[in-house]
Symmetry: C2
């Protein structure tokens, strides 16, 4: 099945590059609201499902035991830019379980945001694990493990309590199996499982609506999504797409990206979850797709629809600030 | 026309992302040696045709008047990483025409190579125009203009002597028209023209073989390609694909990338030019495609073919150094 062109990059009057994609918008009962491309082919959701991975932190009582509020929960669901506030909170979360930077198992890297990286380099910093974009999630993993009385060493391993708990939780939400056969290793070393966008979107719809979930899980899901929507800077960072999408409609849009062109979202008032992937893995493609899909869902709200539309169709400027082209929705997502 | 999948990105045992592309390999007479995807659709070659744009610098005698050797000519054809050696030489080239950094019209940006950027930030540097990846080309433009006795101000403009000269030169090489109708503005503010890959590949085959060129142009083309192959670090930089491709087979492969997933190359001994584009604009896709195409052309040379094949199929590692997947040729380029 050929995935449709959903984004085009123009220069002058010419289309310069194309992005194809798959989009699933699903309701809490699993009904397909919108389906584009091959939404039944397994894809790695990567970091887009961090809020699902964080459910156990809340459900087991670990989040309450360590006094986590909305910022801590948002950071546990984040792929942050490594700005000072992100790094400090990740360290603080681990410290509440008596742990520190050396206990993280996510690896070190410079910020992927150029302005943050330049500040780090100017300050004479070196990359450390708190600056890893996944450090909030890992702080949550460490706390989940410690609260359960399980040795945290090797918590990124497939057989560790943390990962088996996550596997069971996410699989039960999406309805698709997760195991060694569809397992890959993520950037931060935890297992990630390839699964169809249709099921992932259904999982987010269930988190947003509580449909088919027990009371503990429904409450935990609502608490995590609410935390992310209340503290969107902690989910990504300054100028980042997840943060901006949630700032456009406070409390009404949940959005989280994943590597290789994945974006997931939920609109609680519409009762739907969204999961999409840009076929080629490009973040710019996924960002335009998710903004365009959300604009369609908010077609009845001119202000929000307008802001989402502006985010979907961006002007590109060159080093001299001259307008050279656009990134904009195409095909089924155009107009 | 659907462009074929030519590159796949795997994670674990799963294909995570795909890159589609168009590839033209053409001989000096315009005969198609290999054609994949829509090679007759106009694409912007961007920086991949800088060696064509540099022909006038040599043909007019400007290069000799300013004493340019192989390094200067390679830099005039480059998209460099802004390493200190690149910046110094670009400044030196302009100085020979009595000009300096303020006369460049390419704009400022930090190096796109993270390690170079970190060094710049640590040293307290700010971006300047000599660090623009196109500064070598712009130094050549300034010298071309000054040698011709034309006011260099506004040399990036469509109607300036420099750009009209380039337009005539490149169009006569590719055989395709270039004008306001197929014009866009490049990252460094000069006009770029959308034209079919088939013609661009033919142009590189003509540069490599001299077929159909007058003696002055044939000599200038050979001199520029030889300079790039002799000084590949000046064409890109440390660890960059263009540089590594030319280092694999010294004097036998010419290669130059362009933004938005373009790669052009020539193999003089085979008498062919190559022009390709990754449909979605991804550099990793274009790099794998060009290495795979070159590996096919060097199938009779085990050592070179092996090195090109290794470049085409790269292992991806995560922040902990764990092998997580591959970027590798697919479809017609696999195997």
């Amino acid at each position: 099945m050929q995935n449709p062109v959903l984004v085009e990059v123009t220069r002058g009057a010419v289309v310069e590059s194309l992005h194809r994609g798959m989009v699933a918008v699903v309701d809490g009962d699993g009904g397909l609201v919108m389906g584009l491309g091959d939404i039944d082919r397994p894809v790695f959701p990567r970091s887009a499902t961090k809020s699902m991975q964080a459910l156990a932190l809340v459900e087991t009582g670990a989040a309450d035991a360590y006094g986590f509020g909305e910022r801590e929960l948002a950071l546990a669901c984040s792929s942050h830019s490594g700005e000072p506030g992100h790094m400090a909170l990740a360290g603080d979360m681990a410290a509440r379980a008596g742990l520190g930077e050396a206990d993280f198992e996510c690896g070190r890297h410079w910020s992927s945001e150029q302005s943050v990286l330049i500040e780090q380099a100017r300050a004479g910093d070196k990359p450390n694990q708190l600056g890893n974009n996944c450090s909030g999630k890992h702080a949550g993993f460490l706390c989940l493990s410690c609260h359960a009385g399980v040795d945290h060493h090797g918590y990124v391993g497939y057989d560790h309590f943390v990962q088996s708990t996550i596997r069971d939780t996410v699989s039960s939400l999406t309805g698709d199996p997760m195991g060694v056969d569809n397992c890959g290793t993520d950037g931060c070393s935890i297992p990630t499982y390839a699964s169809p966008l249709r099921g992932i979107a259904h999982g987010f719809a269930r988190m947003a609506t509580g449909t088919g979930l027990g009371p503990v899980r429904a409450k935990a899901a609502k608490r995590l999504m609410s935390a992310c929507m209340a503290e969107p800077w902690y989910v990504a960072g300054t100028g980042r797409a997840c943060t901006e999408l949630m700032q456009i409609a406070p409390g009404r849009i949940f959005a989280k990206t994943g590597a290789e062109g994945v974006f997931c979202a939920a609109v609680p008032e519409k009762g739907v979850g969204i999961a999409l992937k840009c076929e080629d893995g490009a973040g710019r493609g996924a960002e335009t797709m998710v903004a365009a899909v959300l604009a369609k869902l908010f077609a009845d709200d001119g202000e929000i629809c307008g802001k989402l539309g502006a985010m979907a169709s961006r002007t590109m400027r060159n080093w001299n600030g001259i307008e050279v082209g656009t990134v904009r929705p195409a095909g089924e997502l155009a107009g």
